[in-house]
């Protein structure tokens, strides 16, 4: 259901704001938190999925070796690993595990569970398994130590360790892990244990009294209610039927919710995934392959204005291919500084490319591929179309459903393409590279623009294996310089998921990957 319809429905009804008393913000034991999620999880095994819906619930049930709170990103925090160290060459990782962790069925947690998960499950069934396949050896000298080895340094590995929920060996060993019934009735070591899944309605978790962090968690119960329509979820939040709507609060509702007493709005929790929106150029297209045309487009678009109008200032302007919060970010490679809005220059470039103004001032007709279902994306596209019209580029918007847009993009059936948001983290090199390396041409969610540059491939390879932060920043900088020169895409916005929760609760949004906090200190 569209946002507009809800707004219109709202206009029909006079709303009176109910005054809510704000409760003192001190962690307290007990209580139930009801979270409303738009998607029902596929299953709950946190080691065999990259789906957000699965992880949002799974993160409370399963622990990982490390966690990534938003505060202090990109430095990890210990979870099941108390301490960890890297060998000087970066190829050996040693984890010292907590000694008092138990599985929800009462069995003790040991290094054998970690070894099993990293050897038998992650390299076989995790959608990002290539990362785990690179581990050549896993040793467990004692029940609370795990040593992993690789032939290349472990530089980009920490976040993947977070992504990998540790599974109980005694439940999964010798079974078909992908079909194990425990995937639907999971047993983990996390702060909450699984109680019930009423299909289509909700999942109920209850406090795990023997959680390895004493005194935690604070809450007694966590319920995930599935509310497919985000407008209905917001209505339920305002009424107090739901306490927390992670990530998908429509931008149009933000101002109203902020002014409503009893509700907190939070944009914390997107850094790790660094969701970015950019315009991809199909460099195989006869028109778009001319660099001058791409530059002219970049000079015609005022990203600051687009972002202000389309997102009500909720998103930040993307000033480069990297999020500003990344350690490798350098203002030197800012696309917004390099391509200031300059219509005269844009016209000059188009003239040089042989695109003279014809009837009605039209110089070129281009088709822009985008997908449905995201209000601020629709607006972004409309504003860009208006801005391009000013220099005589007549843009036709082709708006199709998301899965279809992926398919058309994969096959290069577009001239310009804007997808709502791409995961461009958690690392400067891993996040961004997959959209520009030549290996990923023609692959789903890969290099859809067909950009081919040997130097980019080589630099990416180097950056991925570089352990030294200073040298890595330099390599990533060189990559960005090339992107600025070749312009395979134009960064537009830093997409952030907006969450909202009732102010009786605290420490709700704390994680760098929004929605995936484990609720151990939520109250």
């Amino acid at each position: 259901m569209t946002k507009t319809l809800w707004a219109a429905a709202l206009a029909f009804v006079v709303l009176t704001g109910l005054a809510h008393e704000v409760v003192a913000q001190q962690p307290k034991r007990g209580g139930t938190l009801v979270a409303g999620t738009t998607f029902e999880p596929r299953q709950l095994n946190a080691a065999i999925t990259t789906s957000w819906a699965d992880h949002v619930v799974g993160a409370k049930i399963f622990s990982s070796l490390l966690r990534f709170p938003e505060k202090g990103f990109p430095t990890p925090q210990g979870d099941l690993a108390e301490k960890w160290s890297v060998s000087p060459d970066g190829k050996r990782l040693t984890f010292n595990l907590v000694r008092n962790a138990k599985w929800h069925d009462g069995k003790p947690f040991t290094a054998a569970d970690v070894k099993f998960t990293f050897e038998q499950v992650l390299p076989k069934l995790n959608p990002n398994r290539t990362i785990f396949e690179m581990i050549t050896k896993i040793e467990t000298p004692d029940p609370y130590t795990v040593i992993m080895e690789r032939t290349q340094p472990f530089v980009l590995f920490y976040f993947d360790i977070f992504n990998a929920g540790i599974l109980p060996k005694h439940v999964y060993e010798g079974t078909d892990v992908a079909k194990n019934p425990a995937n639907l009735r999971p047993i983990g070591t996390g702060p909450f244990k699984f109680k019930e899944w009423v299909k289509g309605s909700h999942i109920e978790l209850v406090r795990f009294d023997e959680y390895f962090k004493p005194g935690r968690p604070y809450l007694d119960r966590v319920v995930f209610k599935f509310v497919p329509d985000v407008g209905a979820a917001i209505a339920a939040l305002e009424k107090g039927e739901i306490d927390y709507v992670p990530r998908w609060v429509p931008l149009g509702d933000v101002a109203r919710l902020k002014s409503r007493p009893g509700i907190e709005v939070s944009a914390v929790g997107g850094v790790a995934l660094a969701q970015s929106r950019w315009m991809t150029f199909n460099v195989r297209d006869p028109l778009v392959k001319d660099l001058r045309v791409r530059q002219a487009i970049a000079h015609s678009i005022d990203t600051a204005a687009v972002t202000r109008i389309a997102t009500g200032g909720q998103f930040e302007v993307a000033e480069s291919f990297l999020w500003k919060q990344f350690p490798e970010y350098d203002a030197k490679y800012s696309t917004t500084a390099r391509f200031k809005r300059d219509l005269a220059k844009a016209r000059e470039l188009l003239d040089a490319a042989g695109l003279k103004a014809g009837a009605g001032g039209v110089r070129a007709k281009l088709e822009l591929l985008t997908h449905t279902g995201v209000g601020d994306l629709d607006k972004t596209v409309e504003v860009i179309r208006d801005q391009l019209r000013e220099v005589g580029i007549d843009v036709t918007v082709k708006r199709v459903e998301r899965a279809l847009a992926f398919d058309m993009a994969k096959d290069g059936k577009f001239q310009l393409y804007i997808h709502s948001n791409w995961t461009a983290g958690p690392d400067a090199a891993t996040g961004v590279q997959r959209f520009f390396v030549s290996d990923n041409i023609g692959k789903p969610i890969g290099n859809s623009g067909g950009y081919l540059n040997k130097e980019v491939d080589e630099l990416t390879e180097k950056a991925l294996g570089e352990a030294n932060p200073r040298r890595k920043k330099e390599l990533v900088g060189r990559l960005q310089e090339i992107f600025l020169r070749d312009l395979p895409a134009l960064p537009l916005q830093q997409w952030v998921g907006v969450s909202a929760y009732r102010s009786e609760f605290g420490n709700v949004t704390t994680h760098s990957a929004d929605g995936r906090e484990n609720f151990e200190d939520t109250y």
């Binding site: 009804v13 995937n183 299909k199 899965a403």
Partner: protein
């Protein structure tokens, strides 16, 4: 011909009909663009070719389309509707059955409200045409007829849940403090009020107007005049003579209503976060979950075929002139 024989013959002719439904839907779903692989693997994943191939093979998507079709029909004939793509390899039939009771309750209630209230209001309005009651019924009927169910649902939520706070916004039960015993029944009932109104609104209006029109027509016929001349009380003239005859077109419409209510449940269940089959279809559609989509469509088709059969039987009961042939 006996009732039993009639029913049996109708059921047998339903088999090729079902096969046609499966075939057309299979073709339509597969011809529609969009690859389920994105929903199965997720957008954040690195797409390495081997993994994509493995996943396709796991779900049988690597085989030629005609092979997939034949094996689907063969298995479906034995009651095996395959496994869901989205709900990680869970049997489609199980997933549907877990949602069926909720939709059945919603549908039965929505149907009952539409028919009972519709016939009552229609008959009532026809008693004094163009009176205040009749005009009110007409206006309400016109509104109900023109408001889409999901929009009506949103308005109901905003008025009765958010603004007045009388009824829950959505879901099928209070998940914060689950009740038991009669408390649970009451809680479930409270969650059904708004979805039932939203779902039945259109059909209630339709049946009200149909009954009114049909009653007015019948009331002008000779046999009504004859009945009145016989000195029958006005009540009996209305109920036993007029209404019974006026209901024939209403019954026909009511038969089709089941199919439309099922279609309406897709939107209503989505707006009210109600865990039924309609919302399941919407979920399956978004996720390109081919087996789940087909499964729901088959269950819906069977329901509609059965509803039409029941309509024919009821029709024969009401109007003895109709013979089972």
């Amino acid at each position: 011909m006996s009732y039993g024989g009639f029913v049996l013959r109708r059921l047998v002719t339903a088999v090729p009909l079902l096969l046609a439904i499966v075939t057309v839907n299979f073709a339509l779903i597969r011809l529609a663009p969009g690859d389920p692989i994105y929903m199965i693997i997720g957008e954040a994943a690195q797409y390495d070719d081997r993994f994509v191939q493995e996943v396709r093979a796991r779900f049988g998507l690597d085989r030629p389309l005609h092979e997939q079709y034949l094996s689907y029909v063969a298995r479906a004939a034995r009651g095996d509707l395959g496994v869901s793509f989205y709900f990680d390899q869970q049997p489609v039939l199980g997933v549907i059955l877990s949602r069926l009771p909720q939709t059945a309750i919603l549908l039965v209630l929505g149907y009952a409200v539409a028919i009972v209230a519709g016939v009552f209001l229609g008959a009532r309005a026809a008693r004094r045409p163009y009176s205040a009651t009749d005009n009110l019924a007409s206006v309400v009927g016109l509104l109900g007829y023109s408001i889409p169910s999901f929009w009506l649902g949103m308005l109901l939520i905003l008025v009765f849940s958010v603004h007045l706070g009388w009824l829950p916004v959505g879901g099928m039960m209070d998940v914060r403090t689950p009740a038991s015993g009669w408390g649970m029944v009451l809680d479930r009932a409270r969650h059904l009020v708004l979805p039932v109104i939203a779902l039945s609104g259109f059909h209630l209006a339709l049946i009200t107007r149909l009954t009114r029109g049909s009653m007015l027509e019948v009331l002008h016929l000779d046999f009504i005049t004859a009945a009145r001349a016989k000195g029958l009380p006005e009540r009996d003239v209305y109920r036993r003579h007029a209404l019974r005859n006026a209901l024939l077109p209403v019954v026909t419409t009511a038969g089709y209503t089941v199919g439309f209510l099922l279609a309406g449940s897709v939107l209503v269940e989505t707006v009210f976060a109600y865990p039924g089959m309609g919302r399941l279809l919407y979920q399956a559609l978004i996720a390109r979950d081919f087996p789940l989509m087909l499964g729901v469509l088959i269950v819906v088709s069977v329901t509609v075929i059965l509803a039409n059969l029941v309509t024919d039987l009821v029709y024969g009961k009401i109007d003895p002139r109709i013979r089972m042939q």
